[in-house]
Symmetry: C2
Subunit: 179 residues, 2 copies
DNA sequence: GGGGACATGTAATTGGTTACATGATTAC
DNA sequence: GTAATCATGTAACCAATTACATGTCCCC
């Protein structure tokens, strides 16, 4: 999934208006930058690729004498992005690599409320499932709490529980809002 | 750090006895495999590289007519591994990418108790620090809980709190043991 | 005798980062 | 005038995965 992440994130950032490659770099920094920040060396080539695929349209704009190429997302690009966004996070992605999920989560606001809620519910359910299955694993291993071999497992247990509870609180918030 | 991870992990897995490349593949699967599992295509070349660097020594062993190359870690290899292991996890690594840390954590048992404890304490302190600083960030943003733009931040808050509390419980366990 | 595990290795491909190259504009 | 920021792009490099290539052993 990782390799697609840049590509879809760029489409995601273009969802709220046309931007240059330079803008995108800053946008990454100011949004999902703390866990994912691509370099110019990947942004510009991807933009070109997106244009070739018909996902974006580049237009040279002159700001004074300084020229910049602004990219607008097409409806095909939007569909492609939304299609990716709607794919629920898979169990194995949740397993331990959170970065990709965090990026996806950030863009959930572009989904209709119902879809968003369904995906959050699914994420919550998976978190609880993972939590319970790791609890089972914990029972099977005999290492004491001070043995580092069980730490990654314990880390998983505490984080899945925390995620699940937090996702539950989001669900509750939606319910209270009554949308 | 990511690229070094494979290399040090291989040294780490060789810490408790000589192994072939094939063994290592299985070992990854059975230990840190759920969050990090390299392919043969990276294991074998790294083994060769390690041998060139004097970190491991490969010896052809014949099991019947089937030959396998078993690698033994050298004292230089051990030192190199331990040196890496002793480097505390940096703040930015803790930020959101947990995989690398989990791998490192798994190998902490090769460190003397005192060092291990100090590193756990440091990790705990950083988790609390991150937790408090994210709490500050939360105060500054005005998005309601139902806005997906704050979710990555919230995710960070709940996970840092969970990690910190859990690391604290490890410390307590050590104290109770009175080592 | 065939499938599956054991065992090693490499070549092709992918995809990213770093560093380089270039040049305009703005603020001091 | 010079440093910082704006702005775009590419070439060299690096590291990893996939797929391929090869062959043994063991059990059914």
């Amino acid at each position: 999934m990782k390799q697609d992440l840049v590509q879809y994130s760029i489409l995601g950032l273009l969802m709220d208006g046309k931007k240059s490659g330079y803008d995108l770099k800053n946008d990454f920094k100011n949004s999902v930058g703390s866990f994912y920040a691509p370099s110019f060396g990947s942004i510009y080539p991807i933009l070109k690729k997106h244009e070739k695929n018909g996902y974006v349209i580049g237009k040279d704009e002159a700001v004074g004498k300084r020229k910049r190429t602004e990219y607008t997302i097409t409806s095909l690009g939007k569909d492609t992005f939304l299609k990716w966004l709607k794919v629920p996070v898979a169990q194995h992605e949740l397993q331990y690599s959170c970065d990709d999920i965090l990026v996806k989560l950030y863009f959930y606001r572009y989904l209709p409320l119902k879809t968003r809620l369904a995906l959050i519910k699914k994420l919550k359910d998976m978190s609880f499932e993972n939590y319970y299955s790791l609890i089972e694993c914990q029972k099977e291993i005999s290492f004491p709490i001070t043995d580092s071999r069980r730490w990654p497992l314990d880390w998983g247990v505490v984080s899945f529980y925390a995620y699940a509870k937090w996702l539950e609180s989001i669900e509750d918030a939606y319910k209270k809002r009554g949308d």
